[in-house]
Symmetry: C2
Subunit: 141 residues, 2 copies
């Protein structure tokens, strides 16, 4: 990776691979999802199904919006709702052998972008931080 | 801005200026801060004092962590606590005439970095998105 030119770098070189990515399952209750998000510290994480295929993403903003009532945050609703009802399914996705520029373009509007294989199995995530670190190195060499 | 070289770009050229930045006041109750965050959709925003000096940042993760009890999220605590007790004061800061590279380095570990003048008055925020958009343009020209 150290010696590779920016033009030879692919998404697979920079992504955080799936085993290191915090995620939730599509049928988890929202309460579990919010706990995962608060304890991991992440604003948003991927949503997978039982066979580890990528189905969407879910974040704190969306969950909190769902339970914001007229007078207070209705935390009791968290136990009744499922990730599936609230998750974002309209998400960009990359392949591990897409090129660096595809990654740069994708993260302009998204803090992270999911990586999946052609059958939809979750491979990992490409973060803005990974892209920025690599750009900084590129500028200094 | 269009014709400026990357080496001539300063933070002031790329930042979102203060009037467009959602923020909270240091003495607001946490309940108000969380409402601002949920309604604006932002994960974290600057905290200012009454004279518009920058004092810190506050985000959803920190607030939710504060109210996470053993059995549930204790939303009633939100009315009792103030932004000041929970905000992050250990934050990086830039000057509007710092150079592009200072900005790139600063956003590697932070989704946004506050910009203030030498007396500490809030000027705006530099976001990762602003840096990434500019880099993409730089790579294409
Ligand atoms: N535990 C931690 N240790 C050190 N720094 C931390 C951290 N948690 C967050 N950060 C810093 O804050 C940035 C924004 O995190 P956020 O959770 O909003 O947004 C994150 C989160 O939604 C997701 N993400 C990152 N790593 C993840 C992981 N291992 N599992 C699941 N999601 C992850 O990708 C987004 C962008 O991540 P990125 O690294 O570019 O940017 C991260 C990173 O610079
Ligand atoms: N209303 C909206 N419209 C379009 N896109 C939206 C959006 N809200 C969020 N995004 C997208 O999501 C990214 C992460 O937003 P987040 O709120 O976690 O993290 C944000 C937020 O904490 C802060 N931020 C950005 N703009 C702000 C503003 N006008 N006022 C206060 N804070 C702001 O800077 C962080 C990084 O912002 P950045 O633009 O790099 O990256 C943003 C942007 O790409």
């Amino acid at each position: 990776l150290q010696d590779k030119q920016l033009t030879d770098i692919v998404i697979g070189d920079l992504m955080i691979s799936s085993e290191k990515v915090a995620h939730v399952q599509v049928n988890n209750p929202l309460e579990h999802a919010l706990l995962v998000l608060v304890k991991s510290g992440y604003s948003s994480v991927p949503v997978l199904d039982a066979s580890y295929k990528l189905v969407g993403t879910i974040g704190k903003t969306k969950i909190l919006n769902e339970i914001l009532g007229l007078e207070r945050f209705e935390v009791e609703k968290l136990a009744d709702m499922k990730v599936q009802e609230v998750m974002n399914t309209d998400i960009p996705c990359l392949l591990r052998d897409n090129i660096f520029m595809d990654g740069l373009k994708a993260v302009i509007d998204h803090p992270f972008v999911c990586v999946a294989d052609e059958e939809g199995y979750f491979d990992g995530i490409l973060t803005r931080r990974a892209i920025l670190k690599h750009i900084k190195r590129d500028y200094y060499t």
